[in-house]
């Protein structure tokens, strides 16, 4: 369900369309495990939300867990659509993570 790629020192996770609590619980272990495996080669973790249309608080918690575990590394969240950004903003997460809105060109 989650796609991962390592480019330069960035570990990029691409998430599926709907991140409700049940889905997040399924992918959480996969994400944390991959992070642990690659931690020596990674400086930045990127969460690419270009296909994501819905997030719940469980996904916010995943962001915290990922951000928390990193000392020198950063978590950057990219391609965030307006309705998803609204949820990050409500939780005040726009102040603690670097969040980039989806940049559409049509």
């Amino acid at each position: 369900m989650v796609k991962v790629k390592l480019e330069d020192k960035k570990l990029v996770f691409s998430f599926p369309n709907r991140l409700d609590t049940a889905v997040v619980m399924e992918i959480e272990t996969e994400v944390m495990k991959k992070l642990e495996e690659e931690k020596k080669s990674v400086k930045t973790v990127v969460f690419d939300l270009k296909d994501v249309e819905y997030i719940s608080s469980s996904f916010l918690r995943l962001c915290v867990n990922v951000g928390r575990g990193k000392e020198e590394n950063d978590l950057v969240i990219i391609n965030v659509s307006p309705i998803v950004f609204k949820v990050f903003k409500m939780a005040g997460f726009d102040k603690i993570f670097k969040i980039e809105l989806l940049d559409w060109n049509f």
Binding site: A22, S56, S57, S58, G67, I83, M90, I96
Partner: protein, 139 residues
């Protein structure tokens, strides 16, 4: 008024939120309103799944109706142990990541997503009501 019930299990989450979504689509085309109510409902339902039935899983019942003042009400009921999700501690959003209380985030969001939220305990059941005003769509 429409109703659904299912066992309080994470595998029924999509069934419950899917029903709420398709029911609401019959009364509004407002995407943001739909999103807010579905997310608020999910957060409540997940809390019930995680906390109301510590031993044997019971039922979650959901009713949806629209009142004459154009408020959508979503009533979520379970007969588990007394549990008022509104009493959960709010997360300290100003805290650094390390101290952030990640537990109360769901309920914190619910309070911002809906216009009114109330809880009562009656007949050995937890009853939570979410209300949001349906605005008249511009034609």
């Amino acid at each position: 008024m429409v109703k659904i019930e299912a066992t309080a299990d994470l595998k029924n989450l999509k069934l419950l939120t899917g029903f709420i979504e398709s029911s609401l689509k019959k009364i509004t085309s407002n995407f943001e309103l739909l999103h807010d109510l579905i997310l608020a409902s999910e957060e409540i339902i997940v809390n019930i799944i995680l906390y109301s039935y510590p031993e044997e899983k019971g039922l979650i019942k959901v009713w949806i109706f629209l009142d004459k003042n154009s408020f959508v009400s979503i009533v979520i009921k379970d007969h588990g142990q007394p549990f008022n999700p509104l009493e959960k501690q709010e997360p300290d959003l100003a805290a650094s990541l390390d101290q952030r209380a990640i537990g109360g985030l769901g309920i914190f969001l619910v309070k911002k997503l809906v216009d009114d939220i109330s809880y009562c305990r009656k007949n050995n059941s937890n009853i939570l009501i979410l209300k949001k005003k349906l605005h008249k769509e511009a034609i």
